[in-house]
């Protein structure tokens, strides 16, 4: 007979899936269990550390950070994509669609083609990349403790972070657009924004009493010192902080 006190711990794969914020069926149950079970909390931290180490090693294979010219990179890619599309496609239908796109200003293809034709000078200010839809969010969840340090590795010329205080649960990070990668260490999450996202969303339980958010070495937010900016208060809605500037309150 199974004892009432006998506990079934979630598998490592399941714990890792929660760290990766995968929508597994057992997510709520696993998180609830991990909060109560010191053994699983420790295991989850260890898995997160290992996963971060793997991510850091694989990150060595990437190009040097290209944050500054990333928008140009995207635009150049768009341009080449359309050009190739026209060349490789070759079919009259493709040409007709593209030709129509050129004369229909509202068409997305028109915008891509226009970007190709109206290539900016190297000194021009990059156009804003269209906002990403929430459906493409990627992210992680990490167990909450009393303090948290979040470091964006690189400056971003655009994009913002929205911070929401939640009741309980894990600290969750989500990014929309771009391709941010996360590294987790004890009480610290480093966000590799070499391929910057348009928006970052961080949900922080109220139990986390001290928070620092940095962009490189620049301090973007300090809790509780910045409480004058309604951080940590009970006002509804997320705190919206443009990454390029300092703290500004959401309208």
């Amino acid at each position: 007979m199974v004892s009432q006190t006998e506990t079934t711990h979630p598998s490592d794969a399941l714990l890792l899936a929660t760290i990766h914020a995968e929508p597994v069926d057992e997510l709520a149950a696993v998180r609830a269990h991990a909060r109560e079970c010191a053994q699983c909390t420790a295991r989850q931290r260890s898995l997160a550390d290992d996963d971060a180490m793997t991510g850091a090693l694989l990150g060595e294979l990437d190009d040097p950070p290209r944050t500054a010219d990333q928008p140009r990179f995207v635009r150049r890619s768009s341009r080449r994509w359309v050009r190739r599309g026209l060349r490789v496609g070759g079919a009259a239908a493709t040409l007709a669609v593209a030709a129509a796109a050129l004369v229909v200003p509202a068409s997305p293809l028109h915008r891509l083609v226009s970007r190709g034709i109206d290539a900016p000078s190297p000194n021009s200010i990059p156009a804003a990349v269209p906002a990403a839809a929430p459906a493409a969010a990627s992210g992680i969840a990490v167990p909450a403790s009393r303090s948290l340090v979040v470091v964006f590795r690189h400056e971003q010329s655009q994009g913002a972070v929205d911070i929401t205080r939640t009741g309980t649960g894990d600290i969750t990070f989500r990014s929309h657009g771009g391709n941010a990668a996360y590294q987790v260490a004890a009480d610290q999450v480093s966000i590799d924004n070499s391929f910057p996202a348009d928006a970052y969303q961080i949900d922080i339980p109220r139990g986390v009493q001290q928070v620092r958010i940095l962009v490189g070495t620049r301090v973007l937010l300090r809790w509780p010192e910045d409480s004058a900016h309604r951080v940590g208060t009970s006002q509804p809605g997320p705190l919206h902080i443009p990454l390029a500037a300092g703290i500004t309150n959401a309208p």
């Binding site: 090693l57 294979l61 040097p64 994509w81 669609v97 657009g177």
Partner: protein, 186 residues
């Protein structure tokens, strides 16, 4: 029964094409860098990775409609393009080897301005990656390039329930290989 003119316009071929283009542009903006990052890490060649990622999107554009799992579709197409490119390159190198054996090696030399330390670290990571099975390597690289378990499962035709355990196993094997070859990472 004839549809009202407005409804037929809304659902007609023109509207469908416009929706497809809008979806495609959004997908491109959101996911191009992820696909590029995966291909770059897999191939070790940034220019090739950029070309292949763009070719994959071009093929989706030519397809004219979204597959059920667009990212899985793009991963599969891009990976096949990479495989074809490697096959062509290897045949080309074999043919050229008799004429000039240095050609193959020179293609792998680091850029003149690349840091020697950086090139060495990349070599170390790649060496550890090479020890993994192709499937484990792909799963690990896809996950760490931002793809979801579902996208990985569909792209590699494996059960979604196996993705987590594969990531775990591949991660352990990768770190162990790295440590065995080069010691603890910094």
């Amino acid at each position: 029964m004839r549809l009202p003119v407005t409804a037929s316009r809304r659902n007609g071929p023109g509207a469908r094409a416009a929706r497809f283009e809008a979806d495609l542009e959004q997908l491109f903006q959101q996911r191009f860098t992820g696909l590029y990052r995966y291909l770059h890490r897999l191939s070790g060649d940034g220019a090739l990775a950029e070309d292949l990622a763009q070719d994959a999107f071009t093929r989706l554009f030519e397809r004219g409609e979204m597959p059920d799992e667009p990212m899985a579709w793009l991963i599969t197409v891009a990976t096949n393009l990479l495989r074809d490119d490697r096959r062509r390159s290897s045949r080309r190198l074999r043919l050229m080897a008799t004429a000039d054996e240095s050609v193959g090696r020179s293609a792998r030399l680091p850029e003149p301005d690349a840091s020697v330390v950086r090139a060495e670290r990349q070599h170390q990571v790649r060496e550890a990656l090479e020890r993994l099975s192709p499937r484990d390597r792909q799963v690990l690289l896809l996950r760490h390039s931002g793809f979801s378990y579902r996208e990985i499962a569909v792209a590699l035709a494996m059960p979604e329930t196996s993705v987590g355990t594969t990531i775990l196993r591949a991660g352990v094997a990768f770190r162990a290989s790295y440590q065995e070859l080069h010691g603890e990472p910094d």
